[in-house]
Subunit: 151 residues, 2 copies
């Protein structure tokens, strides 16, 4: 839970430095965001936040999540299907995703070898990497890990 405190103070810093304000809505959205599963959608965030603060509007969710991305406490992910999802941005880590197209489960992984290959390839083409995205889509073959198949 140390990471959570880090994210909270990171946001505080960002707000202070940029002359922005700590509002009730931002606090609630942050709490809800950190408590929920990783890879939440804006709809899910809205529903959860409205349980605490019913008047909260979708526009505020959009604006707040954009703020969180700018403050580097959240990452935006657009997987196939066009739904945008957000995940907490933990300290300098980078990971990629495996997505089960049956149950929708999203696994995260890190792979040093792939990262290195990417660097080599980028160098070969004369590019300096700023970001990358690797998504593997597949179907669970072990029932135990696939919610869709009756667990």
């Amino acid at each position: 839970m140390v990471e959570i405190l880090q994210l909270i103070s990171k946001l505080q810093d960002y707000l202070r430095v940029n002359g922005l304000k700590t509002t009730k809505q931002r606090q609630i959205i942050l709490e809800v965001f950190l408590e929920m599963d990783r890879h939440v959608t804006l709809d899910e965030l809205l529903l959860a936040a409205q349980k605490v603060y019913p008047n909260l509007g979708m526009a505020t969710i959009y604006r707040t999540m954009r703020l969180f991305v700018e403050a580097s406490i959240a990452h935006e992910r657009k997987f196939d299907g066009g739904i945008t999802r957000y995940e907490p941005a933990n300290e300098g880590e980078h990971h990629d995703h495996l997505i089960c197209t049956l149950c929708g489960h999203i696994f995260e992984f890190e792979d040093e070898i792939i990262e290195e290959r990417q660097e080599s390839i980028a160098t070969l083409y004369g590019l300096s990497i700023t970001d990358h995205k690797l998504e593997i889509y597949g179907t669970c073959i072990t029932p135990d890990s696939c919610e869709f198949r009756g667990n």
Copy 2:
């Protein structure tokens, strides 16, 4: 240009097998699609097709490109920025993309090592891969390959 003929006959087969029709619009869109740069957008296709057939509507472009994807002669790519692009689908090949965020240039590459690692990772998590997507974003460091920097 052998691939082009392959794609044309692949489409013919698909139409025949499914009881669909060869229309002037489909022929024009296919020609334009194959002549244009890889990774075209629907707007670009519309403009180009309208030079040959002014009445052609955007809905037809959408429906036709969806048809091409179903017939496996085109692949749909959604890079960052939310613009959907299409590229001709050549025979069983798979490649990934390097994208320069300055000039917009898109490079294609294939990497056996990365493909293998992906298989291993999927197996580790109990998934059977159906598809994957690897996009590396960066900035050109060699002026010669970056249109944005004055070539």
